[in-house]
Symmetry: C2
Subunit: 299 residues, 2 copies
């Protein structure tokens, strides 16, 4: 089954202690769609400007991503630039140029409206709502977010939480949203806001799933060298949704394994700038790391 | 088989956002010995002052801890006082009164010298050396440490690392010792300093074992309420060594499971001030949480 993915489609200029790389393909939807594409068909909803390099359209196509929902609008592509410290958990945004995203209102092609799996990747909650309004009874909807929306669009986000099956956010966002330092308690509070599946991302420490009154602790794949963590969270949720859409049986029974696949795709993402490493890997390489994670956690 | 444990035996005054509790039984050796006692005989090496409450000696005895190596010296017991922020990962030391620890030089009773398992719990590396000097060919030696010794006794610590089988330290100490942000690489560098087993504690995120060229990722038992994390790291390593001493077969085959048991004992430790919750639990309750951790991590 296919996954519809809405989110940002951007050009990222990234600086680390070791290198500086301008205008790479980035954005939450780009990372999530490439991640999902390892497991089945992905449909992209987004907007880019007239400056969007043709080679990046080619890259999407190489991954068989359906681009019918990608609009090329007059103006410039959303551009983000950021810098990482030596400890890559710390980064700061140097510039955000919204470009064509400033006036974006996603219109779904007719062919997208019955997608069974919907990933509302990180983007303004109002746009996530707008996409959901156009869907016909999707089977499973997950929303991702970021601290920006907690600060600037909390009401929209809280309304959104009542419309989704799963909600993904990182540790500090979970604490901010609930006022709870303890993540197990924070997850319980988030359930009360709507979603029956709550996933808290902890970066290099993995992720936690709270579902059906139980927790699942998913490890991160341990990497010896992190080149650029940009998009790792988007890759995680994209890989997870791709795996879920491709798996048989009810979502509940596949969710843990889906998180492991998401974790593994995110590990590849971190090994190169932007999407460089993710786009170079293969389903077989993903399977190999999933097996390694099994042996890394067995006791 | 029995575990010999040397470390601090202290009175801890602990302040959290919710409560303030004076002069509890604490110290690395106290936590580690009680944790080890769930799995078999533990032998304590330490010193306390004449002010040491009789009820704490009784508490040790209730856990069948061999006290032949505990000296009661003229003077006052080592006293530590500290305060936790709402986020319990942050604490600051308010006072450290060494008391009888200032001049402590551990002398092992004859009956201790052939203990097969030796835990050099957190204490000055010179004292850890001194204990090791008195041992007769122990089967398995593990040292724990803290940032203080990296800052003030690095040479002693580096010499110690050549004498131990396993070394336990926390994330930030691993980074400080090696100058490596990445923990997998930090662990590799620590192997080159001596120990064949390197365990990096990550608090609520669990712990990592590097051994035989492979990593093991041990989860922490997720708690909804942390009352006081003081001694959790000591409980972890104490529980681990206790389990190892009680298990059949080579250490290598038991180490992962031993870390899970250590993790579980540490989770009980966090649920009460000082040793309150640890001393109230039972082997059966430990086994129950180990089973829960199995189901929490299965995918």
């Amino acid at each position: 089954m296919s996954v519809l993915i809405v989110g940002s489609t951007a050009l990222d200029s990234i600086k680390t202690a070791r290198a500086e790389v301008p205008r790479l393909l980035g954005g939450s939807a780009s990372h999530a769609a490439v991640a999902a594409s390892f497991f089945g068909p992905a449909r992209l909803v987004g907007v880019v400007g007239e400056d969007f390099p043709a080679r990046y359209l080619k890259l999407y196509r190489k991954h068989h991503i359906d681009l019918e929902g990608l609009r090329i609008a007059p103006g410039r592509t959303f551009h983000w630039s950021g810098e990482y410290e030596v400890n890559m958990n710390n980064r700061r945004t140097l510039a955000t140029e919204l470009g064509v995203f400033a006036t974006f209102s996603p219109q779904l092609p007719e062919s997208y409206r019955n997608s069974p799996f919907v990933l509302l990747a990180n983007i303004a909650p109002s746009l996530q709502h707008h996409v959901l309004d156009q869907m016909r009874r999707p089977k499973y909807v997950v929303a991702d977010t970021m601290d920006l929306w907690l600060n600037t669009a909390l009401d929209d986000l809280l309304r959104l939480l009542k419309r989704v099956d799963g909600f993904v956010l990182n540790e500090s966002e979970a604490r901010q949203l609930t006022g709870e330092e303890n993540l197990a308690r924070a997850a319980k509070k988030i359930h009360r806001l709507g979603p029956r599946h709550v996933i808290v991302k902890k970066g290099e420490h993995g992720a936690i799933l709270s579902a059906g009154g139980k927790l699942f602790v998913a490890p991160a794949y341990p990497l010896e060298r992190v080149v650029d963590p940009t998009g790792a969270g988007d890759s995680f949720v994209g890989g997870m949704m791709g795996y879920l859409a491709g798996a048989r049986g009810p979502v509940e029974g596949n969710l843990r394994r889906a998180m492991i696949y998401g974790s593994v795709v995110a590990s590849f993402c971190c090994e190169g700038f932007g999407l460089t490493a993710t786009t170079r890997t293969s389903r077989a390489a993903v399977e190999k790391r999933v097996k390694e994670l099994e042996s890394l956690t067995r006791f």
